[in-house]
């Protein structure tokens, strides 16, 4: 036999005795596995875009709430002496906040005005700083409420459809299929034409067709979960249907619901701005970002500042929501979570 023992001289002979059984037991057990939400949060934190989006959203919400308190002007207070003032901020003149018009003249000096309008004023002399943050509040409010109502209707409809199944599900799905075929833009415009434009009618117009997406997501998720064993187990134990929905199914469909909501908010904000821009939005003196953009667009040639600030805010808001929603989808989507 050509057997050659592997002699490594430094190994002492006494090591060649059976190891105590204690060592044999556990191969490895790393730290306790993370829960679904912990894992999702960990993933979200690693996504720089989503994090930046989240921070920007929080920042804009806070500023929109406290911003109007920083000066004495209200969003609706007119003052024709102060009309069309370009933005001026003491100390930020080098950034362009120096009170000069695009033509080069300084309106403040011409009129002898001392009180600065940080983001300028509109043609009625309303302070645009205050109006901008008020408008941000309104746009966010519309977005959040519309998304919430979509959620409510969608979860109930999708939940009932999936949970009871059978013919009821069939009928409800046919209804959805017809609704999906109708371009929501048309419905929204017709709705606004009939009812006076206002915060409430805009929100209602958006949820008329908006809930369909949510209902589909919820139904799909529930159908997927329905066949799983823990639901069967709960059923066998005599859990009532209502309890099953809220205690067992609901926590499991949370992920996709959150993602859908996060995509609904920016689309609602967009639709509001869109309606305002084609003249179907809020009525003055109420302001939304869309209203401000429309006003700014009208006088963009001579007073471009009126367009730029609301344009920046709505873009930042939309980008942030989309980045956050993307990040949440990556973090929460069970398909990606291998």
């Amino acid at each position: 036999m050509g057997r050659k023992p592997n002699e490594t001289p430094e190994i002492p002979d006494d090591m060649f005795t059976p190891a105590s059984p204690g060592i044999v037991t556990k191969a490895e057990t790393s730290a306790a596995p993370l829960t679904f939400w912990q894992e999702a949060w960990r993933r979200l934190r690693k996504n720089k875009g989503a994090l930046a989006g989240l921070i920007t959203i929080v920042f804009l919400i806070v500023v929109s709430l406290i911003g109007p308190l920083f000066n004495e002007y209200s969003y609706s207070q007119q003052d024709l002496v102060r009309s069309n003032l370009p933005p001026k901020i003491a100390g930020l003149e080098w950034l362009g906040f120096d009170g000069t018009r695009s033509s080069g003249e300084n309106t403040y000096e011409e009129r002898g005005i001392t009180a600065n309008a940080w983001f300028g004023t509109d043609e009625f002399g309303r302070d645009l700083w205050t109006r901008l943050w008020k408008a941000t509040q309104v746009s966010l409010f519309i977005g959040v409420v519309a998304a919430f109502l979509d959620l409510l209707i969608g979860v109930v409809y999708g939940g009932i459809s999936a949970f009871y199944g059978g013919r009821l599900d069939n009928v409800m799905q046919r209804i959805i299929e017809v609704l999906v075929g109708i371009p929501n833009l048309i419905v929204i415009i017709l709705f606004i034409l009939i009812f006076e434009p206002g915060i409430l009618s805009i929100i209602l117009a958006m949820i008329i067709t908006g809930w369909v997406g949510m209902a589909r997501v919820v139904r799909g998720q529930i159908l997927q979960l329905k066949g799983q064993e823990f639901i069967l187990a709960a059923r066998t134990l005599g859990t009532s249907n209502g309890k099953l929905i809220w205690k067992h199914l609901f926590p499991n469909v949370m992920g996709p619901i959150i993602i859908t909501v996060m995509f609904t908010i920016p689309s609602a904000i967009f639709f509001e701005a869109f309606l305002s821009f084609i003249g179907l939005g809020l009525q003055p003196p109420l302001a939304s970002l869309g209203v401000l953009i429309e006003d700014g667009y009208q006088s963009m040639r001579f007073f471009s500042y009126k367009l730029i600030f609301p344009a920046i805010v709505i873009s930042a808001l939309m980008i942030s929501f989309n980045l956050l929603a993307d990040g949440l989808r990556d973090a929460l989507d069970p398909k990606m979570r291998r």
């Binding site: 050509g2 023992p5 060649f16 005795t17 060592i23 044999v24 191969a27 490895e28």
Partner: protein, 348 residues
């Protein structure tokens, strides 16, 4: 015996969020012309990674061949450029994959998919390529090849698809075929047919096969030589008879005793190997199998064993082979059974 491929001290790592994962750690083996080498192991033992490394098909973004050589026909595949490697793939070395349901392009007719390789490596007219493809499909046992050639993968059953995959792999008469769990995804009866087909074609074309599998039944049916992998290392390698009749490594013992046998005493229970394979990003010190090994010595938990040659063909990595180790008898019921098959290379 003509050696056509030799792998020396191959190390392959992956990089992920959790750090480096050493999937293959110092693997060496040879493949001879016309023979079948089986690489056996549990899932996660690095056998598939080894196979893909030979073809250099690992994803470039997160994997790296850390060291080692893969010698084939006077070339070192590890150092080959992408372009040269492309010329080799499919013409000299081919591969058959595990799941025929996903390994065919769903939107391309199977004829086109088979022809692609032919056109790439052999200069032939469209017509000859077509005729050759029909021949190939017939060869792998697809009925009505003239008709089926224009159909899409979803129109084939799993077994038929695997036949198509084999036809694709053999299109250019490669010298070597790497079969990565070729029958795992198939029904048992289909499995046997596919294995028969592979054996038949091997005989016809003198193709060497590297068979990656976890199924010892498949190994017994197909292979002449066997390498047992665990945690990215080869624990024991030898001829089929050496591994089945004179296994030396406790892991091989474990594998064998967890395999059902036709003629064995049915009253004896199958014994699974306790525990799970180690986490390749946090390997224990010493022998990777030690934590699961009921014969482990103190030394096993601290030092990796070297290779011991049991015979010219039989190598094992285990401290039990050391002179100072206590003599351990392999458990009852392993090896010994008659398989009605003559050993070709007896242990010296």
């Amino acid at each position: 015996m003509e050696k056509i491929l030799s792998v020396e001290n191959l190390h392959v790592s992956f990089y992920s969020d959790g750090g480096e994962i050493a999937a293959v750690r110092g693997v060496s083996f040879d493949v001879n012309k016309g023979e079948t080498l089986a690489i056996v192991g549990e899932s996660g033992s690095g056998k598939s990674v080894t196979a893909k490394t030979l073809m250099k098909l690992l994803p470039k973004q997160n994997s790296i061949i850390k060291q080692g050589d893969v010698k084939y026909g006077g070339k070192n595949l590890v150092q080959l450029t992408n372009r040269d490697m492309e010329k080799l793939r499919g013409s000299e070395i081919s591969m058959v994959f595990q799941d025929p349901m996903t390994s065919l392009n769903p939107t391309m007719t199977i004829g086109k998919q088979v022809m692609e390789g032919l056109k790439r490596h052999r200069t032939m007219s469209k017509k000859t390529a077509y005729t050759r493809t029909v021949e190939l499909l017939e060869l792998v046992g697809i009925p009505d090849p003239g008709e089926r050639i224009n159909q899409y993968p979803h129109q084939f059953s799993g077994g038929m698809r695997q036949r198509v995959v084999i036809a694709m792999a053999l299109a250019c008469n490669p010298k070597m075929l790497i079969a990565d769990e070729p029958t795992t995804a198939l029904d048992v009866t289909i499995q046997a047919q596919i294995l028969e087909l592979m054996k038949e074609l091997q005989k016809k074309f003198q193709t060497a096969i590297i068979l990656i599998t976890h199924d010892l039944g498949v190994v017994a049916n197909m292979a002449q030589r066997v390498a047992v992998m665990y945690a990215g290392e080869i624990m024991e390698s030898g001829t089929l008879d050496e591994i089945f009749y004179q296994p030396k490594h406790p892991y091989t013992w474990g594998l064998l005793s967890s395999m059902p046998k036709l003629h064995a005493d049915r009253s004896l229970p199958l014994t699974p190997i306790p525990g799970t394979p180690p986490d390749l990003s946090h390997l224990p010190e010493g022998c990777p199998f030690a934590p699961r090994c009921q014969y482990a010595l103190k030394v096993c938990h601290q030092y990796e064993p070297g290779k011991t040659k049991v015979s010219t063909t039989h190598t094992v990595s285990c401290w039990l082979e050391d002179e100072r180790a206590p003599k351990v008898k392999k458990p009852e019921g392993i090896g010994g059974m008659q398989r009605g098959r003559q050993s070709k290379i007896a242990g010296s």
